[in-house]
Subunit: 180 residues, 2 copies
Amino acid sequence: MAPSYRYTETSKSSSASTMFPDHEHDHGKCVSSAMQRAEDLCAERSVRLTDIRRQVLELVWQSHNPVGAYDLLDNLHGIGKRAQPPTVYRALEFLMDQGLIHRIESLNAYIGCRDPGEDHAGQFLICRDCGAAAELVDKRIDAAIGQGAKAAGFSVEHPTVELEGVCANCRPEHKGTKHG
Amino acid sequence: MAPSYRYTETSKSSSASTMFPDHEHDHGKCVSSAMQRAEDLCAERSVRLTDIRRQVLELVWQSHNPVGAYDLLDNLHGIGKRAQPPTVYRALEFLMDQGLIHRIESLNAYIGCRDPGEDHAGQFLICRDCGAAAELVDKRIDAAIGQGAKAAGFSVEHPTVELEGVCANCRPEHKGTKHG
DNA sequence: GTAAATATGTTATAACATAACATTTCAATT
DNA sequence: AATTGAAATGTTATGTTATAACATATTTAC
Ligand SMILES: [Zn+2]
Ligand SMILES: [Zn+2]
Ligand SMILES: [Zn+2]
Ligand SMILES: [Zn+2]
């Protein structure tokens, strides 16, 4: 049986890898594997993936679009009354500390990490049309940044690379191809 | 007479150019040349650099540290009562449209553009110690980003590259050298 | 001068985030 | 199983950043 993941991957480059979600991919798999990975990592690290944290992570993974803290809050269902902002912000902080999500600075929003456990700075492709964001891992970008900074005598500790544009799914050429 | 600009420029790379402000540089020159450039560009483009816009631009240029909208607002001196947020946000929008300033997404703050008129995406080195930000123009970073995105079938329209770290002035090695 | 376009004033509110302190839950130790 | 200290969550209030909507004033073109 073929794998359920279906990503558009145009791998002309050997140093870059991308995962822009295809419109018809099996998203349930994205969610379940991300959740399982989180459970495993947290167990391994002896940190607690509590109900709230688990719920927030699952909500973040509801789509491949970065999601805002207050959207999460709206969908966080406590038994009784509505949760308050600190609840979700604390969960987000935990998840970022554990590398399970990334914050998209240019959107004030959060997205699941495609490869937690691997310590890395996120690089993102953000489609201004469909709103999806894909995490890029491109060594050449890292290398170019490292060199550019070094030439300025600057040591980079936390790079933010967020590339807004149009994804393959939303490109005019591809628009008519097939898609529903 | 030697030029009054004094920047730390370690030009090992031919494709990158940087301007991290030296601690003792003649900042009055930074301001006056930025203001003159703005006057010229606006005249050339037949857009109005009004009192408010001029004042906001000058405030942005008060330092090489990105500055928040409400800080600007606090220092915007109308004759009578205090200005309101839309006043400063409109001025910022104008200045960004004209390429005279950049917005630093990771700080929700604004900084003067070192080369307005040249249409470009900003790349920034932001010192987490002194707070200064320097605009980097590095073709290799642009190229690497373009290639990485292309490999993913993604067309970049608005790249955000903000590199937080420690600048040469604030590096421990350089700290004792001399500096006041 | 009149009209249209541009810029600013003004009021209100939306959207994003954290400080401070009380209470509960958890896990280790006795 | 009670004690206890640490970690997590609840709760209230407030801080910070940004925009919507509509009124007024200023500039420019005719
Ligand atoms: Zn998916
Ligand atoms: Zn990641
Ligand atoms: Zn610039
Ligand atoms: Zn510094």
